[in-house]
């Protein structure tokens, strides 16, 4: 028997979230997380001959189609496939996590009712599955970038920062939605519609540089546009993977938002810090509600 005997006390009070302590609990239960992610991936590709290759095919087809389309039609953003995918992969990670996470507790109702384990693992597993896809697709994209346009070495330093901001923000929103969706199933439907709108207010398929030209110097609108944390994240991805780009045509201008690298870094740090505060709040809310999940399902 272990030298230290753990003592657990359970009361009617919903426990207060102590982040450090809870992190240790989650780390102690990492096997469950790893197993759940493994399970989801296996189930996803079960009875398919190509398996995970399907995940790789998705960005490959995008790259092929848009390379072809821009060659033929010309006149769009320069290196549009790289521009599109560097933002789209981040978006896919975000939307797959929130969609999967919103259903994670409900879909595992049987586990929640019968097994005691930290409930955070369920939305985390949804994020984990999305991360695996993201990692595979990033490899494809990076290879493509190296093979065609080359990496922008100094700007690439923004990638970890943008990724960290994306991940923390995704975790925060996913935890919140997962907990709310247990009581109000509306949240799941709302999310579907919300994501549709969100996709189009984020510069993924269109040029953020053009948005900047339209908004002009009206700073309030520009700031408002950047209030969407995903705009900052996607701009970070664009900047680190795609670079600035120059729009064709008489006006010229940049394809991505024209701002100094340092400013973008500051914006991303702000998003990261804001997301951490947001995460602290949503995690606390998830943690407080999770004690009642078994009853509400």
């Amino acid at each position: 028997m272990a030298a230290t005997i753990q003592i657990v006390e359970r009361t009617s009070e919903s426990p207060h979230l102590r982040v450090g302590e809870r992190l240790r609990v989650l780390i102690a239960h990492r096997e469950i997380l790893a197993n759940l992610v493994r399970k989801e991936l296996k189930v996803k590709y079960v009875a398919s001959v190509l398996g995970a290759v399907w995940s790789l095919l998705n960005p490959l087809v995008y790259l092929a189609v848009f390379t072809f389309v821009t060659r033929v039609l010309g006149n769009g953003l320069p290196d549009y496939p790289v521009y599109l995918l560097s933002g789209l992969l981040a978006w896919n990670l975000f939307s797959a996590s929130t969609l999967g996470g919103s259903r994670s507790v409900i879909d595992n109702a049987n586990l929640v009712k019968k097994v005691a384990f930290p409930r955070e693992i369920l939305p985390l597993a949804a994020i984990g599955v999305a991360l695996v896809d993201y990692a595979l697709q990033m490899v494809v994209l990076l290879i493509f970038i190296v093979a065609t346009v080359g990496l922008h070495v100094p700007d690439l330093a923004l990638l970890p920062l943008a990724f960290a901001a994306l991940l923390v923000f995704t975790c925060a929103l996913t935890a919140w939605i997962a907990a709310l969706n247990v009581r109000y199933r509306d949240v799941g439907h709302l999310l579907n519609i919300g994501l549709l709108v969100w996709f189009w207010v984020t510069p993924i398929v269109y040029s953020s540089g053009l948005v900047q030209q339209h908004l002009g110097d009206r700073d309030v609108l520009a700031i408002l546009y950047f209030c969407n944390p995903l705009t900052a994240v996607v701009e970070g991805m664009h900047r680190s993977l795609y670079g600035v780009g120059v729009l064709p045509g008489p006006d010229g201008g940049t394809a991505t938002w024209d701002m100094p690298l340092g400013t973008l870094a500051v914006v991303l740090v702000a998003v990261l810090v804001g997301s951490m505060i947001f995460l602290r709040f949503t995690w606390g809310s998830f943690f407080a509600r999770s004690g009642d999940f078994a009853e509400e399902l």
Binding site: I7, R10, I32, N35
Partner: protein, 396 residues
Amino acid sequence: MNVTAAPAIEVHGVSKRFHVFREKPSTVKQRLLTSRAKADDFWALRDVDLEIGEGTTFGLIGHNGSGKTTLLKCVAGILRPTSGTIRQRGRLAALLELGAGFHQELTGRENVYLNAAFLGLSRKQTDAVFDDIVAFAELEDFIDNQVKFYSSGMLVRLGFAVAVHVDPDVLLIDEVLAVGDEAFQAKCLDRIRTFQHEGRTIVLVTHALNTVIETCDRAAMLHHGELHAIGMPDDVVREMRYVLLGVTDPNFVPEEGTRQAEIAEVQIVPPPGSRQGRILRGDTFTIAIDVRQNEPVEDLDVDFAVLDGATNYPVMDARTSRAGLHLGRFDKKRVRFRIEGFPYDPGKYWVTVGLSSRETGHLYHVQTQRYMFEVYDAPRIQDRVDVSVAVEVDDL
């Protein structure tokens, strides 16, 4: 079994209230239109106090809906008590369901790892016991097949095999022992004994009262969410039987007598070859009574009575003196009453056993309604018999 002072589980004044919605509001619209007052309150547990000593095996009994599983879920941390505190020491594993998290599309092997993780085993620990698990489940040939191709029996065996290879200090088991065929159940009980010898604390929720008597050190009975009885398994199980049958006579004395002669053991032996030891209507079975004489008794008379469990009315009895038997002096003897075809309806029956003096009627030892057996309906294929059928035809 070493019973130390520090309890593994302490339950203090625990109550649990459920809101029972007629239809649960699960959208915002419904939530706004339905006031919370429409929910009915249901108290699954009321002010329960319990202490379960480290290294003991504790039986938790009670009829359906008495709150056993709710209490177990509160201890496991799946449910949060409405009031009161639960303190629990050591690593805990709760077996509320076999094969939790099993996924149809995964192979047996993958499911073992998944399920083991939920029960608190690391990948390395699972590696170490994996072969034992497969051998225990007797699934060596099928472990790499998807479990959707398993029979329900195979699934249950695999689920249990994982469950008994967990390594907790405290093990909560809810009814999961009642699975599989008899041989497999025996294997499971055997495994429980091993856990006991290893000094683990076990809490067993079950309807199998005999299992409680045979395996538990202590037991408690819940009744409508309240702690109705706690103590030695024998006493608690007897209390449970009285409550089940609605015996509420306060003058009821379960056991009396001067004990010059004593009832050592009573067995109700089903007919040989009966399925699962069941007694069917019309079966011939035996009530075997082992008697010990503590002091020489000359005129011992052994008798039993069978009472209908539904009504408490005696339906039959027999005694050795009526059969013309003189037992005389002895140290220990077994008296077998063979009931040649039990004619009464299916249901539960009590057995009262008594030792008395043939001459004076003095009571040496009586156990009133201490034993119970259940009679099942005999499955039968109806014979063809001639039934006269009247035929009438009317003009319309």
